[in-house]
């Protein structure tokens, strides 16, 4: 049982994905049952694994692809952090998507690729070797593309083209980095890091740079972020999943794995690569916020906000101190909860009230109170107002930066918080304090069906809860502390 567990968890997403492709379009009940059933089963398994891994267990499934080439699925505490987030949000996003699309066309295709995308994310989290990571990373690229172009219009194909245009060269860079490194050291398993200090320092720097290049596209590190705002052409549930769990997090998670499990944070510092990476992340944080400020379209503003926020995770890893690392890892979950709330709400605004631009939001608080309230919670979390989740991340990152002597990072965090406030507070002000617009009165906005608003309420509550209860051992912060203290501190 325990040896097959990672495989089983993967199958909870993969089987519904493969089965859904073959379902006729009109069998909505079977389709929804399959996907929701898979998601619920996965949550149950995740709950069990959280308990077991908390007790110190490790689960492994190992398959041989070619001699010496292993597909290794391994569940450790770090993998579980990511999988818990993705399993939880998969269930909610599936509920949301069912309500969002109603009886739209091509839904079997959509839900098939949607679940495939989640399966790929799960595989990325469970990857125990570099090559396994690469396999699932590419599966993610391929399964996301049909979701981005789901509407099949010129705009979405342009977005899909831009996505592949960034992602495929990046995967070539990633493959080169992996093969180059492994051609010297042999296959690399995350659980048993190789001694790399014998390699030429220049080569190692180049390999690390290639890794960052390959993973930075999905993590949307400036200047590799261009595809992300364009990908807003996708339907709202896709944007929600892309920005909170699947794609950007896969990149950030990969960078964390590379820094901690392949190179080791000490080697990264010795090579003099930690500080440049921290600076790159800081530039991304500030640049993303500045660009978000300029956007008039709600979804685009959120997209640039993602560019900014995901780099907190990279920053946490690059700062090379335990407290900053805990802050970065906790932010992986925190940002997911907050950002998916914002995208759920943006989708409801667009779908149910035709609100896409910022000035359309005037007075919407009175007419769509639930949506506006959830949106406000998510936005306040992003700004980092205590006791929201974002505050906890930023606090740890700041303290961690001071601990490692990188005091300048505090200014980056403060500056970013000010910018976050500058681009989110006007929205809140418009929603709650400005009178409603006359031209929107003709169509009474609605927050129904429940499938749209309930997921948003749940994630908004969760975003508040993980901040309030950050001290609990099972909170994202508590789990991140466990990861760092148990697995990565000597």
């Amino acid at each position: 049982m325990t040896a097959a567990l990672p495989f089983l968890v993967l199958m909870t997403s993969l089987v519904p994905a493969l089965a859904t492709f073959w379902l006729p379009e009109n069998q909505a009940a079977t389709r929804n049952g399959l996907n929701l059933g898979g998601a619920i089963l996965k949550l149950v398994l995740v709950a069990y694994m959280l308990y077991a891994v908390g007790q110190g267990a490790v689960f492994e499934t190992r398959l041989e692809l070619a001699p010496g080439l292993f597909l290794l699925l391994r569940i450790d505490a770090l993998a579980l952090l990511f999988v818990t987030l993705s399993a939880f949000l998969w269930l909610l996003t599936t509920i949301y998507a069912i309500a969002y699309f109603g009886n739209g066309p091509n839904l079997s295709r959509f839900f098939g690729f949607f679940s495939l995308c989640v399966a790929a994310t799960t595989g990325i989290a469970f990857s125990g070797t570099l090559i396994t990571f690469f396999l699932f990373y590419e599966l993610l690229t391929l399964s996301t593309w049909p979701l981005v172009v789901h509407k099949q219009n010129e705009k979405s194909f342009a977005a899909g083209g831009s996505y592949l245009g960034f992602a495929l060269p990046a995967s070539a860079a990633l493959l080169v980095a992996i093969i180059w490194l492994e051609s010297v050291t042999g296959p690399i398993e995350f659980a048993a890091p190789r001694e790399l200090s014998g390699l030429d320092a220049f080569d190692l720097r180049l390999i690390l740079a290639l890794f960052v290049l390959g993973l930075g596209v999905k993590a949307a590190i400036v200047p590799l972020h261009g595809w992300l705002p364009a990908a807003m052409a996708a339907p709202a549930p896709v944007s929600a999943l892309l920005h909170a769990v699947a794609v950007v997090k896969a990149g950030a998670f990969g960078i964390v794995r590379i820094i901690y499990d392949v190179f080791g944070i000490d080697l990264v510092s010795q090579l003099g690569m930690a500080q440049p990476l921290a600076i790159l992340a800081s530039i991304t944080i500030l640049y993303g916020s500045l660009r978000a400020l300029q956007q008039d379209d709600i979804k685009r503003r959120l997209a640039f906000s993602t560019v900014s926020q995901v780099s907190y995770i990279v920053l946490g890893a690059a700062l090379a101190g335990p407290i900053a690392a805990i802050g970065g890892l906790a932010h992986l979950v925190h940002q997911g909860l907050m950002k998916i709330t914002l995208f759920f709400c943006a989708g409801i605004f667009a779908e149910r009230a035709g609100i896409e631009k910022i000035h359309h939001l005037d007075g919407v608080g009175a007419r769509m109170p639930w949506t506006a309230f959830c949106f406000s919670l998510g936005a306040m979390g992003m700004i980092g107002i205590p006791p929201m989740a974002g505050f906890v991340s930023k606090l740890y990152l700041g303290v961690g930066a001071l601990e490692t002597g990188a005091g300048w990072v505090v200014f980056v965090l403060a500056g970013s918080s000010l910018l976050n406030a500058a681009y989110f507070l006007p929205l809140l002000y418009r929603m709650w304090f400005l009178p409603a617009r006359e031209d929107l009165e003709t169509q009474p906005p609605s927050e129904r069906p429940l499938g749209l608003i309930v997921p948003a309420v749940v994630t908004a509550t969760a975003a508040l809860g993980v901040g309030l209860l950050a001290g609990a051992p099972i909170s994202p912060l508590g789990w991140a502390t466990l990861i760092i203290e148990r697995d990565y501190l000597p």
Binding site: L65, P67, E138, T141, G160, L164
Partner: protein, 494 residues
């Protein structure tokens, strides 16, 4: 001795089938399908036997070489036989619809089946021959049936393309035969074993091997001798194109591999391996760039063959010559063979997809296929799967192949080969993205300009594309099988 029976059957059955399809042309399609099933079963049986007991050998009529004809199957032979048997079987099932349909041309319907079986017999003959003269006979037979297949639809441009193909192929045969004559003068035998034991690296041997290689390269359409391939492969009827593009060039490549890796590995010096690798690299770049600018689907797919064949020749600098003794050589060689096999599956799938699109849209003009995925989602899916394998993206046979070749390239410090392999993948993304995007776009005007196609018919390309994908997921068995009978054992793996 069942394995000697199986060895005889893989050539004998299609030859017998050939006569039956001519005599009994009304049941030709059924006979051809049954025959290719027999061949596939025999090939699988041989694979089991080879993996259990090592390479198998039999002498026809009990006469040993050099007097009689010896047939031998090692891991490499059986892998190629299984894949080509499977492709011919699926293509045959597909062609039942294309040629046995009422209202299609009768001449092509009559000629296709015997030609298909001769092609299969010739291919299998090449995979199990151990004698350069028997190889010559087999690949002449292969060339003639392939050229005849190009002319099947009887259009002027197809016949011109076939003539050009024939000229190139004959030139190739002459060069090969010259080389073989020189070898015979030197050794008094054309048996691979006899020659392999007494290679002395003399000038005459080098000249002979060089001439044979040049002839084989012509037939494999290695850049810059590729000119005949795109018009011939795009002019033939789709089921014929599927076999021509996926299997026929692999046969002459197979002989080249036998020549340089089994018979005279000592002779493969750096000048030769670098030259072949360099031409392969040029083929990748040139073929891909040509594929990008084509406006017809079949031409895109045909130029993609030119590019993909280039990868096969990068095996020479990575695994031959000075590299042969290195630990990475086995990986590169196996990667090359897996590439040949997964390309065969993916490319035949693509041509069958193109065939279905042509039947549905009556053209393979790319712009006219806009939105065809709505009518034929399964075919569009099969095309995309095949494209993923050609791009070398996981999980597919193409990925494992490129991974193995890249690993050797890095291990040997062959940066230029690594660059070419990666560049080829990215260029393939460029030329395959366009057709996929066009298929998936919404049609310009509403309504159904496409003829619906039965679901069962659409299964054929999907099966082949899935085969290419599964070669990547389950590559452990093929990898092990390919090593059996190799002169240099590759037990270290990666």
């Amino acid at each position: 001795m069942p394995s000697s029976l199986a060895l005889t059957a893989i050539i004998g059955a299609p030859l017998l089938g050939f006569f039956m399809t001519i005599v009994w042309s009304r049941a030709a399609a059924v006979v051809a399908s049954l025959t290719s099933m027999v061949v596939l079963v025999a090939a699988v049986f041989l694979a089991v036997s080879v993996s259990a007991h090592g390479a198998v050998l039999t002498s026809l009529g009990g006469w040993d070489a050099p007097l009689g004809i010896e047939l031998a199957a090692d891991g490499l032979s059986v892998m190629f036989m299984i894949v080509s048997g499977a492709i011919v079987l699926v293509v045959g099932a597909y062609a039942q619809h294309e040629f046995v349909h009422p209202g299609t041309e009768t001449r092509s319907g009559f000629a296709f089946w015997p030609l298909m079986l001769v092609l299969l017999a010739a291919l299998n003959g090449i995979f199990v021959s151990r004698d350069f003269f028997n190889l010559y006979v087999c690949f002449e037979l292969l060339t003639l049936s392939a050229v005849a297949m190009v002319t099947l639809n009887g259009k002027t441009e197809s016949i011109t393309a076939a003539l050009r193909y024939l000229l190139f192929a004959l030139l190739g045969s002459i060069l090969y035969l010259l080389g073989a004559v020189l070898l015979y003068a030197q050794f008094g035998s054309l048996d691979m074993g006899v020659i392999g034991q007494s290679v002395s690296s003399s000038g005459a041997e080098i000249l002979a091997a060089g001439l044979m290689t040049a002839g084989l390269a012509l037939k494999t359409a290695l850049f810059p001798f590729h000119g005949w391939l795109p018009p011939a492969h795009s002019g033939a009827p789709p089921p014929a194109s599927a076999m021509l593009s996926s299997l026929v060039p692999k046969a002459s490549y197979f002989i080249t591999i036998r020549l340089w890796f089994d018979v005279m590995p000592e002779l493969a010096g750096n000048p030769l391996t670098l030259a072949l690798g360099g031409l392969g690299g040029a083929a990748i770049l040139y073929g891909s760039l040509q594929a990008i600018v084509q406006t017809r689907l079949k031409m895109v797919v045909a130029y993609s063959t030119v590019a993909q064949l280039g990868y096969l020749f990068i095996v020479f600098p990575l695994a031959g010559g000075d590299s042969a003794a290195q630990p990475w050589s086995a990986g590169a060689w196996t990667g090359g063979m897996l590439h040949a096999l997964s390309h065969a599956l993916a490319k035949s799938a693509m041509f069958l997809c193109a065939g279905l699109f042509i039947i549905s849209a009556r053209t393979d003009d790319l712009e006219a296929l806009r939105g065809i995925a709505q009518t034929m989602p399964m075919t569009a899916f099969a095309f995309t799967l095949a494209a993923i394998s050609l791009l070398g993206l996981p999980p597919s046979g193409g990925f494992i192949a490129k991974y193995l070749m890249l690993t050797s390239a890095f291990a040997s410090g062959g940066w230029i080969w690594a660059f070419l392999i990666l560049a080829g993948g990215l260029l393939a993304a460029l030329y395959l993205y366009r057709p996929v995007r066009i298929m998936l776009s919404l049609p310009k005007q509403p309504g159904q300009p496409f003829k619906p196609i039965s679901r069962w018919w659409q299964v054929a390309p999907l099966v082949l594309a899935l085969g290419a994908v599964f070669l990547g997921i389950g590559s452990n068995e093929p990898y092990a099988l390919l090593q059996i009978g190799r002169p240099v054992a590759a037990e270290t793996g990666l």
